[in-house]
């Protein structure tokens, strides 16, 4: 541990003051790490613990649920909630959005990263600017349009507006990935007689698969977490997405909020994302920071 913190041991011997200074706070970063982990995980842990209590001791404050119970999970999946159907809806909406956006976005990102053409910065600027627009500014007119063309309570009414944030996100991420690949790849392909289109299809795309995959995860999570669009364009229970349905769970006795069932459903909606994050954390971090750090 000390070797990693002090890369120059001779310096320590020449300046004992600095060594002493370092000695008393060497543990601070580790305490800090502990604090950060605690900060990030404790609310989530509370959701997990609360979801595993019995409905009757939902207000208990023991750090571990005693006794364990899956009552809340059964309650979340009770027929009157329509939660299972909502999960399927979420999957459809987020999945189709992700596929569409990747199909279109990969092509554009390749052009932006690798081809030399007029107006490239304008396109980049448009992609960046559109991602900054407040969703509500797009949503109000779309809502009016959708009610006049009969799209209220349809999947496409959720998918099409979701592309407004998912497409710029995907194009931006993919452009960064394509930029990181060595230009020699296409040059070699072109020397071998490939056209730019062939170079893209046969050389670049297979090698960019990890970047495309990471972008798919990030886009899927963004679409899965979308709330205001799904809340606004759908009012039929069978078409609502999971976050919307969970926020509208009603208790057995009218007005009381069924927190236990909400926490259980919240865990179910979040766990797939947390598993994705744990499995692909390195890549996700690389993808997320690519947008901010160039």
């Amino acid at each position: 541990m000390s070797t990693t913190l002090d890369p120059t041991p001779q310096e320590v011997s020449t300046s004992p003051a600095a060594a002493k200074d370092r000695a008393w706070w060497w543990w601070l970063p580790y305490a800090g790490i502990g604090l950060i982990v605690l900060y990030c995980l404790s609310p989530f842990y509370w959701m997990l613990v609360s979801s595993l209590r019995r409905t009757n001791d939902i207000f208990a404050d023991s750090p571990v649920p005693t006794p364990f119970s899956i009552e809340n999970y059964t309650a979340a999946f009770a027929d009157n909630n329509g939660f299972l159907r909502a999960l399927l809806n979420s999957f459809l909406v987020a999945g189709i959005t992700t596929v569409l956006v990747l199909l279109i976005g990969t092509l554009t990102a390749y052009a932006l990263a690798r081809l030399d053409f007029r107006g490239k910065n304008v396109v980049l600027g448009i992609v960046m600017i559109t991602s900054m627009f407040p969703t509500i500014s797009l949503l109000v007119p779309l809502l009016e349009l959708f009610s006049s063309i009969g799209w209220i309570n349809t999947y496409q009414a959720m998918i099409v507006p979701s592309m407004s944030f998912a497409l710029p996100l995907a194009v931006w991420n993919l452009t960064t990935f394509f930029r990181q690949m060595p230009t020699e790849l296409e040059e070699a392909a072109q020397i071998d007689g490939c056209t730019p289109a062939q170079a893209f299809r046969k050389v670049i795309l297979p090698l960019a698969a990890p970047g495309v995959f990471t972008t798919a995860i990030i886009t899927f999570i963004a679409a899965w977490n979308e709330f205001i669009i799904a809340l606004s364009v759908v009012n039929e229970k069978g078409l609502k997405t999971a976050p919307v349905i969970i926020s509208q769970f009603t208790g057995e006795y009218g007005r009381d909020t069924p927190f236990g069932a909400q926490m259980a459903a919240g865990v179910i909606v979040t766990i797939p994302l947390v598993i994705l994050v744990l499995l692909f954390q390195r890549r996700i971090v690389a993808g997320l920071t690519a947008g901010g750090v160039k």
Binding site: P7, Y30, G32, I33, V37, Y39, C40, P43, S50, F59, I104, L107, T108, A111, L115, D116, F117, R118, K120, N121, G125, M132, F133, P134, T135, I136, S137, L138, L139, V140, P141, L142, E144, V160, S164, T183, T195, I221, N225, F227, I228, L231, S232, P243, I246, S247, F259, Q262, M263, V269, L273, V274, L276, V277, Q281, L288, T289, G292, V293, K294
Partner: protein
């Protein structure tokens, strides 16, 4: 802005290059067009339509000739805007504008300070980095609407926060009032400070160690090193992160909506009241006026950030230097 800056440093002979460039141009047009079309449909068209809608109101009178309810919409000029600023809806709108702004200023400030602290800690610690990176992504991955419900549960009158605080009279966090505002700020900070930490950490990692060693040789204190070296060098990253967080907080909806609920003076944001006008009351005119205002507000803030503070959003400057 000119495309020539993107050209490779070694110029190739003109004739083949031009033809290749023309071919690349055609290919690029074909590749870029689908994205531009989709963005025109789902972004450009709605924004323009919102500007138009903001000058109209739904007819709600009775036609004097037929005695039936009037259909369609009428042009009302600036009425939606004057209503919003000084008229009937003025109080509600100004309140929402204040909430939107105060959430943004306070939450983003706290998040930046916490995020930078987290990044510094993560940069120092070599052990446990994988653990902390996984942990830091959890708040980011939790859907914001679910995070709102989670914090609503934590902030219940007989919830865990009040138990920990152990006051004589429990605080009613989720009803209304200043405490509800605080609850939203706390929830937002939890969700996004780690994300800022992640971005700043990436910025820290590209600073070469030699700079720090030079500072150490010159006898700079850690405090001085932070202000004179670390902060200026992560500034470009930080500016972009802050800009994105500000724009994101200006359109805040999910947290106030699920944590506190709509129709609360302390936490209604512009997006919340625009949503209520449009979805609950079907008044697209006033709702559009709110959202057009928010759109312009966001545009002005982004402009100030890019022009005055020099936030390098497109990464063109860094790209020229770095690669």
């Amino acid at each position: 802005m000119s495309t020539t800056t993107e050209a490779p440093p070694t110029p190739s002979p003109p004739p083949p290059r031009q033809s290749r460039r023309a071919g690349a141009g055609r290919l690029a047009a074909a590749l870029v067009t689908p994205t531009m079309l989709v963005l025109a449909l789902v972004v450009a068209y709605p924004v323009l339509a919102a500007f138009r809608l903001a000058f109209y109101q739904k007819k709600d009178g009775i036609d004097p000739e037929t005695g039936l309810l009037e259909q369609g919409e009428t042009f009302v000029g600036l009425e939606n805007f004057t209503d919003m600023l000084v008229g009937d809806a003025g109080d509600r709108f100004r309140n929402a504008l204040f909430n939107t702004t105060s959430f943004t200023v306070v939450a983003v400030s706290i998040e930046v300070v916490l995020g930078v602290l987290m990044a510094l800690v993560m940069h120092r610690a070599f052990k446990g980095r994988a653990l902390v990176r996984a942990a830091i992504l959890v708040p980011w991955a939790v859907p914001t609407a679910i995070a709102g419900l989670l914090w609503r549960w934590i902030f219940q009158a007989d919830g865990v926060v009040n138990k920990v605080l152990d006051l004589e009279t429990p605080i009613l966090w989720t009803t209304d009032g200043f405490q509800a505002w605080v609850a939203v700020v706390i929830a937002d900070t939890w969700k996004t400070a780690p994300f800022i930490g992640l971005l700043v950490l990436a910025g820290l990692q590209v600073i070469s160690n030699e700079v720090y060693e030079a500072a150490k040789l010159d006898g700079a204190s850690p405090w001085k090193t932070f202000w004179a070296i670390t902060l200026p060098l992560v500034k470009p990253t930080l500016l972009v992160a802050v800009l994105f967080r500000i724009l994101d907080t200006l359109r805040m909806f999910d947290l106030p909506f699920t944590l506190i609920g709509p129709g609360k003076d302390a936490t209604d944001t512009i997006t919340v009241i625009a949503y209520e006008e449009a979805v609950k009351f079907g008044k697209y005119g006033p709702a559009s006026a709110y959202s057009v205002f928010l759109f312009l507000y966001v545009a002005v803030v982004a402009f100030v950030f890019v022009k005055l503070l020099g936030a390098d959003v497109l990464g063109t400057r860094a790209g020229k230097k770095g690669r």
